[in-house]
């Protein structure tokens, strides 16, 4: 079981996909429910993974089989405190996205097939411990999203789809070159991530190390996205269908952060420390700029999209602080990392819910213009509660998971980057402002007569949002179950940068 569990989780959706392909395209209900049912086993298994892993540390569930021994490629998967929550997040968001996609009416078979392919790609990225395998999954997750945006997206979908594809691809090919450089630098002819990280190639080789660092940085930073590489994000998020936006913001962005934590920091600690001030500065810009730009949006979905730039900035700030050159101690660094990873999970949950909620209102009103709403709180009480909670979680209200994550990041980053941390609080304030303003514009005030007859959330919508809201509150009040899992990884990684 231990050896196989990750493989089963990763490739299960492909098996379901094969099943979906066998169902005739006109049997739309069968396709939908078969896919949803098929997405449950990975969810159960990843929940089991979470329970099983808690209280442990280090790499577990490892499976290593030679694949292309001619060039030293293995099929090598494993999970640790960094990836276990990501598995759960991926499985959960996929299931909820599929449930929320029950209202898809156009080309149903292709839609669900692509979604399942996407799920395999995402699982694979978080499972892979071999660079070749990692890259394969990284790219596999790209292609279905291109089609999801391009076929079921909004009015500018074709532009958004290809922009997303090309932008991410630029990052990936830079990453590819860096991976090859790493491969040959070790001289061990292996693509094993852990082994390469253990050897610390390029230690003491200034220019080459810097080149490799920035190549990898670009690959991951575009995905996160860090300012100024974020311009694909508003287009892709806004044009994507609701479920696509959920997965984009909830999981695909996390792949970038995951790359920083799994590859960049452990493999090139020297360069990471050297350049961490730049990473921190870019994170700060992302935080402040993302918040202000979000505030200026009149499109609800675009506002949430820019809020992702802002929120992912906190993750990057935590990562930069953990790898800083400063005298910060092990605990501070580990705290920053815990915060960053918690923010990854928490942002996935919160933004997932927010995109679903934007979808709910767009399906009814066919507009996302914030100026046109008002007083929906009275019309749609269930919707109103969900939006209140999600927005509060997003702006970091104590008692919600967003608060815990951001608190950890700020606490951890404070000793390392005093100035950045202080300036980043601007982002907090502005975030609170635009989210409260959004609530005001959508839910409060006089009821717009146009929307007086809008029906409240139906069962499908409630079911797809409720688990996310539960998690926001659960980890806000009692974050211990997730911190127990994260902490082992955080301390291990932090130990590379500062002694206790």
């Amino acid at each position: 079981m231990d050896r196989w569990v990750l493989t089963v989780i990763t490739f299960w959706p492909l098996a379901v996909l094969a099943g979906v392909l066998c169902i005739p395209a006109r049997m739309e209900r069968a396709i939908k429910w078969f896919s949803i049912a098929g997405s449950l086993p990975p969810l159960v298994l990843s929940a089991w993974l979470w329970l099983d892993y808690s209280g442990q540390s280090g790499m577990r569930y490892v499976m290593k089989v030679p694949w292309i021994s001619a060039i030293g490629v293995d099929y090598h998967v494993g999970a640790d405190g960094l990836s276990v929550p990501m598995f759960f997040l991926t499985a959960l968001l996929t299931t909820l996205s599929l449930i929320s996609s029950l209202n898809i009416t156009v080309r149903v078979k292709e839609y669900f097939a692509l979604f399942l392919l996407l799920e395999t790609g995402m699982f694979g990225v978080f499972a892979a411990l071999d660079y070749f395998l990692f890259y394969v999954f990284w790219e596999i997750s790209l292609v279905p999203m291109y089609f999801l945006i391009g076929i079921w997206g909004g009015p500018r979908r074709e532009y958004a789809a290809i922009k997303f594809f090309l932008y991410t691809l630029v990052g990936s090919v830079c990453m590819l070159l860096a991976i090859l450089a790493l491969y040959f630098a070790t001289g061990a002819e292996t693509f094993d991530m852990l082994q390469i990280a253990g050897q610390q190639p390029f230690a003491g080789r200034g220019v080459v190390q810097a080149l490799v660092f920035w190549a990898l940085f670009l690959g991951f930073a575009i995905k996160v996205p860090v300012w100024p590489f974020h311009t694909w994000l508003p287009d892709a998020h806004v044009e994507a269908p609701t479920a696509g936006s959920v997965i984009l913001a909830g999981v695909l962005l996390k792949m970038g952060c995951y790359g920083f934590l799994r590859i960049l920091l452990p493999t090139l600690p020297e360069a990471s420390a050297q350049f961490s001030v730049w990473v921190g500065a870019l994170a700060l810009v992302s935080i402040v700029y993302g918040a202000f730009v979000a505030m200026a949006q009149m499109d609800f979905k675009k506002l949430i999209a820019y809020s992702s730039v802002n929120h992912m900035g906190y993750v990057m700030l935590g990562i930069a602080a953990a790898s800083s050159l400063s005298a910060a101690g092990l605990t501070d660094r580990a705290t920053a990392l815990n915060g960053a990873m918690l923010q990854m999970f928490s942002h996935g949950v919160i933004t997932g819910a927010l995109f679903l909620l934007v979808g709910v209102i767009y399906d009814r009103a066919h507009t996302r213009d914030l100026r046109e709403f008002g007083g929906l709180g009275a019309v749609m009480p269930r919707y109103s509660v969900a939006l209140w909670v999600s927005c509060f979680a997003s702006l970091g209200l104590p008692g919600m998971s967003g608060f815990v994550a951001e608190f950890f990041v700020f606490r951890g980053a404070f000793p390392a980057y005093l100035l950045f941390t202080c300036l980043a609080t601007i982002g907090l304030v502005v975030t609170a402002a635009y989210l409260l303003w959004t609530i005001q514009r959508v839910l409060l005030g006089p009821t717009n007569e146009k929307w007086a007859k809008l029906p409240d959330m139906d069962a499908r919508e409630v079911v797809s949002v409720l688990p996310l809201i539960a998690l926001m509150v659960l980890f806000g009040v009692y974050p211990r179950p997730i911190l127990e899992i994260l902490n082992g990884f955080a301390r291990q990684l932090a130990a590379l940068f500062g002694a206790g």
């Binding site: 292309i68 001619a70 979908r157 070159l177 040959f184």
Partner: protein, 515 residues
């Protein structure tokens, strides 16, 4: 001069015999064949048998037999089976693993072309004999060129290939574009061939021998002035670069790829290119490796081919023309591998050559598959323009999905063999640890990104746009089977890359290792 054995030429002999058979059967069989007029002349059973034979079937049999023979020879001369990985056949030919592998690529490509031709010329059966005769002859020419070990056999096999290709390009005599393609191809080819002949004569004058090995040894002594040597080299390489369609000898490819019948285009884009690559490899390796530093030259050709091919492909409206530019760019990627090989001549494993072979395998599957799909769409809609692909996903989902697989492979994205090829070639470049090659790899990956744009422009039309006529299009069986075989193999061979990698390691052996 050891071990002269005609058995080593069995593949070529088989190809030519079956070419002749195809021609003969083409005369007998068919609605207006000789047998149709006098069925009683041979007695009923024999007549029925001959009637059932068709040149395409014969051609496919010949190719399969040739492939088997090549496999036999390849594994018979591998180091673990025999004392030497190389067998010299007189001075004119050398049978070494790399040469055999390039020949096999040509045979496989031609094997994929034959079903396409069955669909493409479904309304024009009466020239089937000639068509398959020419295809098999051209294929035999490629296998010869890949083994050529002196200037004369290089020139003769390339000319053999050219002459058959000219006729093939103009095979649709009723189509003005096809005829135009043939004429352009011929004029351009004749000029390049003349330049090469001139270069060869200079080389011969300098060294007094036609044998590539002899030339290599003679040049190694270094008694020749560099300018003369460079002139001779550049001129000699002209016809080769023409076959490979590397910039600046690529101009013919555009009109020829677009105008020639699609199966012929597929042949030119893979088999003919393989011939050029094989000869280029042998010339650089055997003749010039020790005498001059050709790595920058190959690097420039490579960068120019990739960049120009990819940029010029972007605005194309015709898929065949777009694929012409794409095949120019693929010549560039393959040349990265050659440049890396030039730097690492002393690497006994020939890592870069392995990469080139894996790349070639990926390119073979993806390009033959793409052209088979283009052929099917052309058959169904009568057009190769991008608007003909609109909404193909809803009309013929199999073709559309397979085309996406091929595009991923051509762009070098997983989960396809094309990714493994690019990965390996770029790896070989990075491995050299030389700045020039690093730059080349960087240009290569940048170009891969550009290429996604135009490949997925077709995917966009197929998936994002609504078809003008939503009626389903059942793909013609023969082409569709090639499409599916190539698509499945493109994905499966990435998963099962290890056997292919081993085969590439076996194939990466060249005679006359320069030291």
């Amino acid at each position: 001069m050891q071990d002269f054995s005609l058995a080593l030429l069995l593949p070529q002999i088989l190809l030519l015999v079956f070419a002749a058979l195809a021609l003969a059967v083409g005369l007998w069989s068919g609605a207006d064949g000789w047998l149709a007029y006098r069925p009683d002349r041979l007695g009923r059973p024999l007549a029925a048998l001959l009637h059932g034979l068709n040149p395409g079937l014969l051609g496919a049999c010949g190719l399969l037999l040739a492939l088997v023979a090549q496999g036999q020879i390849l594994f018979g001369i591998l180091p673990q089976f025999g004392p030497l990985p190389v067998t010299q056949l007189s001075d004119a030919l050398t049978v070494d693993p790399a040469g055999i592998v390039f020949g096999m690529v040509a045979c496989l490509a031609t094997l994929g072309v034959i079903p396409m031709a069955a669909d493409h010329f479904a309304d024009d059966r009466k020239n089937s004999g000639e068509l398959h005769f020419l295809l098999l002859c051209a294929c035999a020419a490629v296998t010869m060129a890949a083994l050529a070990a002196d200037l004369l056999s290089v020139y003769l096999s390339l000319e053999f290939l050219s002459v058959t290709s000219y006729v093939l390009a103009g095979f649709r005599r009723s189509d003005a574009r096809s005829v135009e393609a043939a004429i352009k191809y011929f004029l351009f080819g004749a000029a390049c061939s003349a330049a090469t002949l001139y270069g060869m004569s200079v080389l011969f004058g300098m060294t007094g021998t036609l044998s590539l090995r002899g030339i290599g040894e003679s040049l190694m002594l270094g008694q020749f002035t560099s300018p003369a040597l460079w002139v001779a080299t550049l001129l000699t390489l002209t016809a080769v670069a023409f076959k490979v369609a590397a910039v600046p000898f690529h101009l013919w490819a555009l009109d020829v790829y677009q105008g020639a019948p699609t199966p012929v285009t597929a042949f030119l884009s893979v088999a003919s290119k393989a011939a050029g690559l094989a000869v280029l490899l042998r010339l650089l390796w055997t003749c010039f490796a020790a005498a001059l530093d050709w790595v920058p030259l190959v690097g420039i050709l490579s960068a120019a081919s990739m960049t120009l091919g990819n940029l010029a492909a972007i605005p194309q409206k015709n898929v065949k023309r777009m694929l012409a530019y794409s095949s120019i760019s693929h010549a560039g990627y393959l040349l990265i591998g050659f440049a890396a090989l030039g730097v690492t001549l002393r690497d006994p494993r020939l890592f870069a050559l392995q990469g080139v072979l894996v790349y070639l395998a990926g390119y073979l599957l993806a390009n033959i598959g793409t052209f088979a799909a283009v052929n099917a769409v052309e058959r169904l809609t009568g057009s190769a323009e991008i608007p003909a692909y609109r909404g193909l996903m809803q009309r013929s989902p199999g073709l559309a999905i397979a085309l996406v697989v091929f595009f991923l492979s051509l762009a070098g994205l997983p989960p396809t063999l094309g990714f493994a090829g690019k990965f390996w070639v770029f790896a070989a470049a990075i491995k050299t640890n030389i700045q020039l090659l690093w730059w080349l790899a960087a240009i290569g990956v940048a170009n891969s990104v550009v290429s996604v744009y135009y490949y997925f422009n077709v995917a966009r039309a197929m998936f994002f746009e609504e078809p003008r006529d939503p009626a389903p299009l059942p793909a013609p069986v023969a082409s569709a089977s090639v499409v599916w075989a190539c698509a499945l193999a493109s994905v499966a061979l990435l998963v099962a890359l290890q056997p292919l990698a081993r085969a590439a390691a076996s194939g990466a052996w060249m005679s006359f290792v320069p030291r």
